[in-house]
């Protein structure tokens, strides 16, 4: 996909949209936030003194499905941006809704997983695994929730005819956020689930 054309008033002194550059700086700070949380999780892997332990709880099948849903929503986000740029209100709306739905399904899987783990005896206070796991994946889930709200607001704007090619940068910035949430989950799925599965 080629780089998008932006309105002249959106461009800053660097010849790059100010809002987009500001958002990249925000995403950079988010990298540090998740780096700290992942670092804390990795520091305490296998150091819980009491159960339940990851091996007792993880269901790699369910998590793989939720991961698949989230990764596919990244693709629908690309389609949403494409059709908003083209000025197709109907298809732009369809793919924005599909992306939000993908996020909601992922959150449903996460809620199910959290509930299942809680009933199996894992809580924030139970052991090091519980503390680091819930904080790490909970923060990510909060980010997905924020993304779903953002997408929903764009969907409503689109339905009211307030989102056209001239507003494509709004959708692109939301897309940057959504793709970031997607790649954070790729890393979390690897370090939390796959490495446990590999043992």
């Amino acid at each position: 996909m080629s780089a998008p054309a932006v309105a002249e008033h959106d461009l800053g002194n660097l010849g790059y949209p100010n809002r987009k550059l500001g958002f990249w700086i925000f995403l950079g700070s988010e990298c540090m936030l998740f780096g700290a949380l992942i670092g804390a999780y990795m520091s305490y892997v296998g150091k819980s003194l009491v159960g339940p332990y990851p091996a007792d709880l993880f269901d790699i099948g369910i998590t793989t499905w939720s991961t698949f849903t989230l990764l596919m929503s990244s693709f629908t986000m690309v389609l949403a941006l494409h059709y908003v740029r083209q000025g197709s209100r109907r298809l732009g709306g369809v793919w924005l809704a599909a992306t939000a739905l993908g996020g909601l399904i992922f959150l449903g899987f996460q809620s199910f997983e959290f509930t299942h783990f809680y009933h199996a005896g894992l809580s924030l206070q139970k052991n090091l695994f519980g503390t680091t796991f819930f904080v790490l994946t909970g923060f990510h889930g909060a980010h997905v929730s924020g993304g779903v709200l953002w997408l929903t607001s764009l969907f409503v704007m689109n339905a009211r005819g307030l989102l056209g090619p001239e507003k494509a940068l709004d959708v692109e910035i939301c897309g940057l956020y959504w793709h970031f949430v997607d790649i954070v989950w790729i890393v979390l799925f690897t370090v939390v689930y796959l490495l446990e599965f590999a043992k």
């Binding site: 550059l21 995403l27 990298c31 998740f34 780096g35 990795m42 520091s43 796959l194």
Partner: protein, 81 residues
């Protein structure tokens, strides 16, 4: 795939051997796909391939810093390394 081997009795042993061969490969394959997906999303979906200079720096510098921080913590706490 194990279930397929049970449904098709004649090929059970063949599938069993195939699964045994695959099990140690699953994680490296998934890890490789993870790296490919990560690069595809950052480079193409997020358009960083087209954005030179500033945006690349403000994203990749903290990303590398975060990675080094995770590595340092893992070394400090002697986990997985």
């Amino acid at each position: 795939m194990i279930e397929i081997g049970l449904i098709l009795p004649g090929s059970k042993a063949w599938y069993g051997a195939k699964v045994q061969w695959l099990i140690p490969m699953i994680v490296p394959i998934l890890l490789s796909l993870t790296v490919v997906k990560f690069m595809a999303v950052v480079g193409f979906f997020m358009h960083l391939r087209h954005d030179r200079g500033g945006p690349r720096l403000v994203f990749f510098a903290p990303l590398v810093l975060a990675f080094l921080m995770i590595l340092a913590l893992m070394l400090l706490y002697r986990t997985l390394l």
